[in-house]
């Protein structure tokens, strides 16, 4: 796994808001690598800082400490204009609510092409690229002259994806792209996303609170709680051996479409006071190949024991 090419590397990222007494650490200490061509998931509840990480990567929020490397080059802090433009080309974002994230007063043509404007690209080429992006997401180029309100939720999310795709990005941050959609349309959008990944060799950062979707689409998953990444592993090993109590609580809460199992379900509730971090400070430990856990010495021993037994 170590031989794979790293596309994005986040090291000790910290994002804070406010000053003085109101200082709030949305992300305390996040470190992870994303490899080329994979889908990396960040899962956590609302307020855990998962969206903040995504926004720090596309430079919406400044990082207060730590660094983010894209292809080995620093992308936080002040950058020359040309570099910022390149990054806009390479990193794009898909938003949560397709009803709210499209400009109601603009035609699809403009919405999709907006990122290309003012870059000295000839008008015909812009036109071509918009048509191509629309075709890629399964819409017809004729739709370009319509307004967003003429489309259904699933189609709007496709437009949102086309808008990201038109820049020819390598890396796409998808922030809860299917949470606002109906179940039947979710499947269509998920299929489209994996299809585009194969076709264009995209790398995704997939942010969601829904582990059942994550299991389906992600190669690796990081679990974040209150600004700390508590566990990170391959999807299968995370589901097979969840080590952190918070991960276990999340897994136990996934609704299963199986009435017999659901009747005997035992919910686990995560209580942060089960940790004793005052003296024994937690660290970021690799417990098995590619499986990372935030734990102190005592917890680490327990986790290793648990792994051996299973």
């Amino acid at each position: 796994m170590q031989t794979r090419e790293t596309i994005l590397s986040v090291k000790g990222l910290q994002v804070a808001f406010g000053h003085g007494r109101n200082r709030f650490y949305a992300v305390k200490n996040a470190s992870f690598d994303i490899f080329k061509g994979e889908t990396f998931g960040i899962v956590g509840e609302s307020g855990s800082g998962k969206t903040t990480i995504g926004r720090a990567i596309i430079r919406v929020y400044p990082a207060t400490a730590g660094s983010i490397l894209f292809h080995g080059e620093e992308i936080t802090g002040r950058l020359p204009k040309s570099r910022r433009r390149d990054l806009t080309n390479q990193i794009q974002m898909i938003f949560q609510d397709p009803m709210a994230s499209l400009n109601e007063r603009a035609k699809i043509d403009y919405i999709v092409s907006e990122g290309l404007l003012g870059r000295g690209i000839p008008r015909e080429e812009v036109r071509e690229r918009v048509d191509q992006a629309l075709r890629d997401v399964g819409l017809l180029p004729e739709f370009a002259s319509r307004f967003p309100h003429e489309f259904s939720g699933g189609q709007r999310q496709r437009i949102g994806i086309a808008r990201a795709l038109v820049m020819n990005p390598e890396f796409i941050i998808a922030d809860e792209p299917i949470s606002a959609l109906d179940v039947s349309i979710r499947a269509q959008v998920l299929n489209l996303m994996s299809h585009l990944q194969r076709e264009h060799g995209l790398t995704y950062l997939f942010i969601s609170h829904d582990l059942s979707v994550m299991r389906f689409i992600c190669d690796r998953i990081a679990v974040i709680h209150k600004g700390d990444i508590v566990e990170m592993a391959d999807t299968e090993s995370l589901f097979a051996h969840p080590l952190h109590p918070y991960t276990r609580a999340l897994l136990s809460a996934i609704p299963q479409p199986n009435p017999e199992m659901e009747k005997h379900k035992r919910l686990e509730i995560y209580d942060p006071s089960c940790h004793h971090y005052e003296i024994d400070v937690p660290g970021w430990n690799e417990v098995e190949n590619g499986h990372w856990l935030r734990a102190n010495k005592q917890e680490l021993e327990k986790a290793l024991e648990m792994l051996q037994r299973s």
Partner: protein, 376 residues
């Protein structure tokens, strides 16, 4: 069990820019006292419209054009009302004949109550949560002063809000999403209703909080013998809470049955499609089953089986004639020609067979729980 609500051949139409939209096309539904019924369907299938009929909150441009909604929960109390009557299930009142808001005030809240979808927007930000619960007590149960306060504290404890005396004085913005949803449930419970309608009670919530809220609703149902109607688009959530499931498509209930019958032995192609498109049933790296196309346009008259146009294996008759209900068991029936004896044998998609093993201890998803067991 006794019926508490009985819908007969209900048709609802909306007038939009001079055109008629046929939102409900002949619904038949019996709700039993003390059960929890889930109504599942895509957006636009009419599941919310159906439930708005029960509490008189249909939009201005909508009206019941045909059918009855018999409510049995009032006994003889309203026997002078125009819609009152007696049938084999007892005295009833026909809610479809209610016209005035004053009529509805006797039903809404104290008999049938609704929990709206989004707890973030359904509370008054200027009033303390205690006041908002006490208000329901004053209006619906005639309580005052100290009595209302004490009852409010009791209800807050009921919905598992810790430290209720302090919470009483807090404002909605001081609470998290899950807590707010509990407050909304508390307001509904303060009215002491017979039927609780939950319109997507958990879509705005996180998975962990969602599980807790569903657990709470189940607890309350046991404690107060509530009848709960869940409206949702996510079949994954339903398995946990429902006794029976009704699947709606294009303004009609196309399949209804006990929760086990719907999940383990679904018969309608639309139910198959809904279940197969759940990501829980998918395999990473493979295509997830997706329903193609869009629901039919209800401005036009639907001919035959409404799902036929999106069903790749539709029969010829599906596009000609609407199927009637076929009984599979006394509790399970579906509207599909596949159940006719002349129909060709059609197997349910293979994903459906996997449902039984989902979340089973041998499946990897639950290995963690096993480890936990060993730990304890």
């Amino acid at each position: 069990m006794a019926h508490i609500l009985s819908v007969r051949n209900l048709h609802v139409q909306f007038t939009l820019r001079g055109r008629k939209l046929h939102a409900l096309r002949g619904i038949d539904l019996d709700v039993e006292d003390g059960e929890s019924l889930a109504i599942v369907g895509e957006s636009g299938s009419g599941k919310s419209v159906l439930n708005k009929n029960f509490i008189g909150l249909l939009d201005q441009n909508g009206s019941v054009t045909d059918g009855e909604i018999r409510y049995y929960g009032m006994g003889d109390k309203l026997r002078h009302y125009p819609g009152a009557g007696v049938d084999e299930n007892g005295s009833y009142i026909d809610l479809a004949q209610f016209k005035k808001n004053e009529d509805w005030l006797r039903i809404r809240g104290s008999e049938i109550c609704m929990i709206p979808q989004d707890p973030m927007t359904s509370l008054n930000p200027l009033k303390t949560i205690g006041w908002q619960i006490a208000e329901a007590l004053m209006l619906h149960r005639g309580m005052k002063g100290k009595m209302a306060y004490e009852e409010t504290i009791r209800i807050l404890e009921d919905v598992r809000i810790d430290n209720p005396k302090r919470r009483y004085k807090q404002y909605p913005h001081e609470l998290s999403g899950g807590m707010r949803q509990r407050v909304v449930i508390a307001i509904a419970m303060a009215c002491n209703p017979r039927i609780l309608i939950c319109d997507e009670p958990t879509t705005a919530l996180d998975v962990t909080i969602q599980a807790q809220v569903l657990h709470l609703l189940r607890e309350l149902k046991e404690k107060y013998n509530l009848t709960i109607i869940f409206i949702t688009h996510d079949l994954g959530v339903v398995a946990n809470v429902a006794d029976r499931v009704a699947v709606m498509y294009a303004g009609d209930i196309i399949e209804i049955g006990l929760v086990n019958e719907i999940f383990y032995d679904p018969r309608h192609p639309y139910t198959w499609a809904l279940l197969s498109s759940l990501p829980q049933l998918g395999h990473r790296g493979e295509e997830l089953y997706a329903i193609q196309g869009t629901p039919p346009n209800l401005f036009k008259e639907v001919r035959g089986d409404a799902f036929a146009a999106r069903n790749p294996n539709a029969l010829v008759i599906d596009s000609l004639q609407q199927p009637p209900y076929f009984d599979i068991t006394p509790t399970h029936r579906a509207k599909t020609w596949l159940l006719d004896e002349r129909a060709p044998k059609m197997e349910a998609p293979k994903q459906i067979g996997k449902i039984r093993s989902l979340g089973h201890p041998s499946a990897p998803a639950d290995a963690g729980k096993e480890a936990e067991h060993a730990d304890a």
